[in-house]
Symmetry: C2
């Protein structure tokens, strides 16, 4: 590994913060491009570059002396990055082709279908009749193609009225949405994969994810590894080889009785992988960077039999009271409090996931956020 390799991250939120924090003591020099001195990454990094990743001049200045470039978000327009960074001499990971493919739900879903990754049936059309016909088979979910997250840009259409209201509002911009068949599932499951520049792929454990108000609230794991899980890993590996993905990528599934239906992927480190900071001997943040630096990756091994990760989400604007630390390992992002905002998370590891989740929920009661 090259001593002092300079890695740039577009964005300065908590993902960038943790990429900084996990890597800056491992011979790497991590730089973040972020608009504010108060962003989470700025709080932990001596190499914050103040600027807007969406501003070409800032982006060019930031990338001037970097060896590598990566993102904490898939929402930076890939075409803009391709154009602006055409002379960048370092390595960009994941590639801008991958970013382009995956930042649009339409091309993302199409790529699942092409690569035999089971996903809910969907259509993309500007023909209202086609949408109404598709609805006759059952409830739908309309999803924004770009920039959707945590339920933002997602519309569940259970009834004919839901559909009519949606179409009334959006009939002039139907190109911006896809319509998926709503899946009846038991619960949601996620996994992070990491693939190196030479195609070595490793996996973190499968986890169960619990949402609250469309946001990840709690993650527990590991999920018991069944045949369905093993088969999915093989398919993911083939898929990542096919698109030549480099870095960490998060996969989110609907778990039905017999199978896993791929909901969506995030081409970056992922909230459902924050447990790896404490549950595994190498975490998703460090391994994301190693993907670009090394041909082969360390194989993540679990420290403990079970883990629970609890997101700390603001319930109001304004003041925060943080209790004394007692159990679990706190990660606090240093952001101001706002209702619905992810402010931090706590990792618990131990013998039994139900017990850890009980402990996590008890711990949450001590917080005033």
């Amino acid at each position: 590994m090259k001593l002092g390799s300079k890695i740039g991250i577009l964005g300065g939120g908590q993902l960038s913060m943790m990429l900084n924090n996990q890597a800056q003591d491992v011979t790497l020099e991590v730089h973040s491009l972020t608009p504010s001195k108060l962003d989470p990454a700025s709080l932990v990094s001596p190499h914050t570059f103040l600027g807007d990743p969406k501003n070409a001049a800032d982006l060019l200045a930031f990338t001037q002396n970097l060896d590598f470039l990566t993102f904490e978000s898939e929402f930076y327009n890939a075409q803009y990055l391709k154009k602006t960074l055409c002379d960048f001499k370092g390595m960009i990971f994941p590639s801008l082709d991958c970013l382009e493919l995956l930042q649009d739900r339409k091309s993302q879903k199409t790529s699942f279908e092409k690569n035999k990754l089971d996903t809910s049936p969907f259509i993309h059309t500007q023909n209202i009749n086609d949408i109404e016909n598709f609805f006759k088979q059952g409830p739908l979910v309309a999803k924004q193609r770009f920039n959707g997250y945590d339920g933002f840009g997602t519309f569940v259409l259970n009834t004919k009225t839901d559909l009519e209201n949606f179409l009334d509002k959006n009939h002039q911009q139907l190109d911006l949405f896809i319509f998926e068949k709503k899946i009846a599932f038991q619960y949601e499951v996620a996994i992070q994969a990491a693939r190196s520049r030479k195609g070595h792929t490793v996996f973190f454990p499968f986890v169960k994810t619990i949402q609250k108000n469309n946001k990840c609230f709690l993650v527990e794991g590991p999920e018991k590894s069944t045949l369905a899980f093993l088969q999915i890993k093989k398919k993911i590996q083939k898929y990542l080889d096919k698109i030549d993905y480099v870095g960490v990528i998060g996969f989110e599934f609907f778990k039905t009785r017999n199978s896993l239906i791929l909901n969506e992927v995030a081409p970056r480190v992922h909230n459902t992988g924050h447990h790896t900071l404490d549950s595994c001997d190498v975490d998703q943040f460090l391994i994301h960077l190693l993907c670009a630096l090394q041909d082969r990756l360390p194989l993540p091994k679990m420290h403990a039999k079970a883990f629970t990760m609890l997101n700390l989400i603001g319930t109001r604007d304004g003041s925060v009271e943080i209790p004394d630390l007692q159990s679990g390992r706190l990660y606090w992002y240093g952001k101001s409090n706002r209702a619905g905002r992810k402010l931090g998370h706590i990792n618990f590891i131990g013998e039994n996931k139900k017990a850890l989740t009980t402990l996590a929920l008890k711990e949450l009661k001590r917080w005033k956020i």
Copy 2:
């Protein structure tokens, strides 16, 4: 816990680096006072204050807005700190009284004896006859009272000639030394304790430490807990209560067939506790800071059955070749290479300490340092 409490650390070496790195994502704001931008703490902290802790003006400027102050080294003269910081409004931990007591091997050893912590018999005298008489009972170790570390300032006097040579050189400065009876031991053992501002004391596991050229080379653990170990913990707890110690403190012992003989203590986070970064659910760095912030401390629990920590020590001046990361978790301090310098460490955790140590020694062969 107060959000954004400002904690200052005197010194910017690797201990300060790790204090920064482990705390800066836990609602705390850690500042380091260090002379160089290239010091390890500077590489990971946005709050480096360039200056010399031994310069009163720098110290005063640095401490102006801090809530807490601590040290990465026991070598800052306590009397100078007391005088310079007499108006400091925050909390200093450990207290400057503790620092004064423990930075002098004479008062340190005397305090062991007073508190029934078994230690090797010693004398402090400027009377050469007394020293020669003490030598008649067996080989001695002369130790500098102040600023000794890693064998520096330690002189083993096995033979009459060793003693004569030592006295020839040092007869005019005998006040600066103590003379200890040399202990015949099986191996060396260490433990870290942490005590909160309200007297809550917790322990990390006992470890075996292996030295090479008088430097800690490798640590493995946990040591099997025997009655002697349990009794020592009780004595340590009483001792820390007696001196009202706040923070992490490292204890180093000679293990003989039936007992533990206390060699020395370091009133700070300690190299033999670096394993806690990966072996336990709370590490020595974070808990050191929590000692000042909280009344009660989290109880450190081990993640794994066994651990090994390998120090990466420079074997020559100049270039370093770092292999790709494969096993273990690397901590690299970002220092330039120099023969004998501690450049980093790797933590291994797993089922069996012998297997981990074998792995560690194999890993070391991949390094060119």
